[in-house]
């Protein structure tokens, strides 16, 4: 029951890293708070599993310090860290029953028998494994096996954190949803720090209180799902979160307006004249297609998702995705778009620039 502090943690798999590219994980400061659920979200190879393995002690970081509470555990082996981890593929002990599998981490720590039995029964009930407790783990389905792995991760009540490394990859889509809500319920019931690695944004956004978005070994933004959606700090977050991702348009920004191609897009705040690569970013949800009026666009394609329709349009030759309002029954090739100025963000060299509110 402690907070976990990353103090400038970085890792390179090569022995003498020279450039930033040699780092699987670039220097990172962060405090993981007790009782919170975090998700590490990013594409494959972005360093999220490396970060997880550093916390669990399977990898010793090349730089920085790792603190559990006030204790420096950077160089401590896994066994002495009080961490539970669940892996991508189910790891079960073939020769044991389900109950013995769940009891294994407790038995190794010399817990009294009665306490073990009680805890195993509790966790089995949470994960609906009770009917299978006396069965051999070997003959079970992949789903059930992964539930056992999850159970082994959750069975120790004294852990500093439970780490999940894409634990639902092998699970059937229908069951995935159910298991995820179960994990969420378990999290609420057990008041543990959980860190959950995934490359699936839905999984991350529904599971976690805070999401850490990673790209190329760097934590590009740490925030609540709402913050990531509404105010991405980095263009990568804009692209990666949301489906489809954020629109980015090269623009000349000065004052309260942005010049995009030949059109003028109003901004919600005041910006000084910016140099470098300047783009405005806006979610498709905040660009609305209009029959006329607004900025002139050519409609290329309309995707109907049932609940909403998205139009792929061209604004002075620049691709843009906009929402088609319910009031617009049919969409011709020529239309207009209206931007919601409060949700038009400005990015300079991929980093969001905070405007000055007047």
């Amino acid at each position: 029951m402690t907070r976990i502090t990353l103090d400038g943690i970085a890792h390179a798999y090569t022995r003498h890293p020279r450039t930033e590219k040699d780092y699987a994980l670039r220097p990172l400061h962060h405090v993981w708070e007790q009782g919170m659920a975090y998700a590490l979200l990013g594409p494959s190879g972005c360093g999220k599993t490396t970060l997880l393995n550093i916390i669990s002690g399977l990898i010793i970081p090349s730089e920085g310090r790792l603190l559990f509470g006030d204790r420096d555990v950077t160089r401590l082996p896994t066994e002495q860290r009080n961490i539970a981890q669940v892996f991508q593929f189910p790891v079960i002990y073939d020769t044991m029953t389900v109950a013995e599998n769940l009891a294994f981490p407790l038995r190794n720590r010399k817990m009294p028998k009665a306490a073990i039995a009680a805890r195993v029964a509790e966790i089995a009930a949470m994960l609906e494994l009770t009917p299978d407790l006396d069965r051999r783990a070997r003959g079970l389905t992949a789903d059930a096996k992964q539930k056992i792995s999850l159970g082994r991760g959750l069975v120790r009540s004294d852990v500093s954190a439970v780490l999940f490394d894409e634990p639902l990859t092998v699970i059937d889509p229908a069951l995935k949803w159910e298991l995820r809500s179960k994990l969420k319920a378990v999290h609420r019931a057990l008041d543990l720090l959980m860190i959950y690695v995934t490359h699936d944004q839905t999984e991350a956004l529904t599971f976690a209180d805070r999401v850490v978005v990673m790209n190329e070994g760097q934590a590009v933004q740490i925030g609540t799902p709402e913050e990531l959606f509404e105010r991405p700090d980095h263009t990568f977050v804009g692209y990666f979160i949301g489906s489809p991702g954020m629109n980015f348009l090269p623009a000349l920004v000065d004052g309260r307006g942005a010049r995009v191609g030949g059109s003028e897009v109003p901004l919600g705040a005041f910006y000084p004249a910016l140099t470098g690569t300047v783009r405005i970013g806006v979610r498709p949800d905040f660009v609305t297609l209009t029959p006329g009026g607004g900025l002139k666009v050519q409609v290329r394609r309309v995707d109907d998702f049932g609940r909403k329709r998205l139009a792929h349009v061209s604004l002075d030759g620049l691709p843009l995705v906009a929402t088609v309002p319910d009031s617009m029954a049919s969409v011709g090739t020529d239309a207009g778009v209206a931007f919601d100025p409060a949700h038009v963000l400005v990015y300079q060299n991929d980093i969001r620039v905070e405007g000055i509110a007047e």
């Binding site: 669990s56 896994t78 981890q85 892996f87 790891v91 079960i92 073939d94 294994f104 981490p105």
Partner: protein
Amino acid sequence: MMDKPWNNRAWIFILPVLALVLFCSIIPVMTVVNYSLQDSMGVNNFFWNGDSWFRDLLDPSTEIGARFADALLRTFAFSFAALAVEVPLGIAVALCLPRRGWAVGISLVITALPMLIPWNVVGTIWQIFARQDIGLFGATLTGLGLPYNVTQDSVSAWVTIVVIDVWHWTPLVILLSYAGLRAIPDAYYQAARIDGASRWAVFVNIELPKLRKVLVIAVLLRFMQTFMIYTEPVVVTGGGPGSATTFLSIDLVKIAIGQVDVGSAAAMSLVYYIIILTACWIFFTVMTQLERRGDT
């Protein structure tokens, strides 16, 4: 041409294989069967003898029966002794071999070397090695005051033959176990560390269950080879002292070629063959059962 699902022309294509099998195995085996049912009074002078060779052979009260029973027991004892040493030793060495890095290749090649030496050469090496006067092994043991004498003492002879087989064939068990160990995903070891498992618990709960399949193969191969052992005892001990190391194969050769007792020898080799076939079948059944039950 291709409209018929069954086409008798196919038979033509398998004729060469049939001919090969016929000459390589069916005709020789039938010759042995033929011998086992007849007695001969001289060259090409055979008469029908029914199953009496088999009855004598399987009846321990007859001379040949007693001899066969002793040799069979000795052969089983040898297989058991060799397996009892080679399997645990092989697993132990496999666990000690490096998992990655430059040392892997070197240690695997060194491990595999004994297997590349022909039986006869191994026998000759050890024949000299075990000599009391000039052999390093024999002379050292004698110098230490141990009663070691391959040609006079049956315990020495037995120990030597088992040690030879262990030296020659443990590498097979090592390589198979090593391959089995390497096939275990890292996540298992990581999970075990997280679960706080001791080294012994990792071995019993992860490594051994995952090795089961390769171990069945290793035991099968080693059983077959040790059960058919011939060259090493012939070269090193000549089956002695007395008949202490006269295993089935040696006895078979003695009866067939030494005594030219073709009928007995044929019956013996058929029984020998059936034992090996049965052992094979048992191992195969166990292996397929394992395959069906365990999916990981």
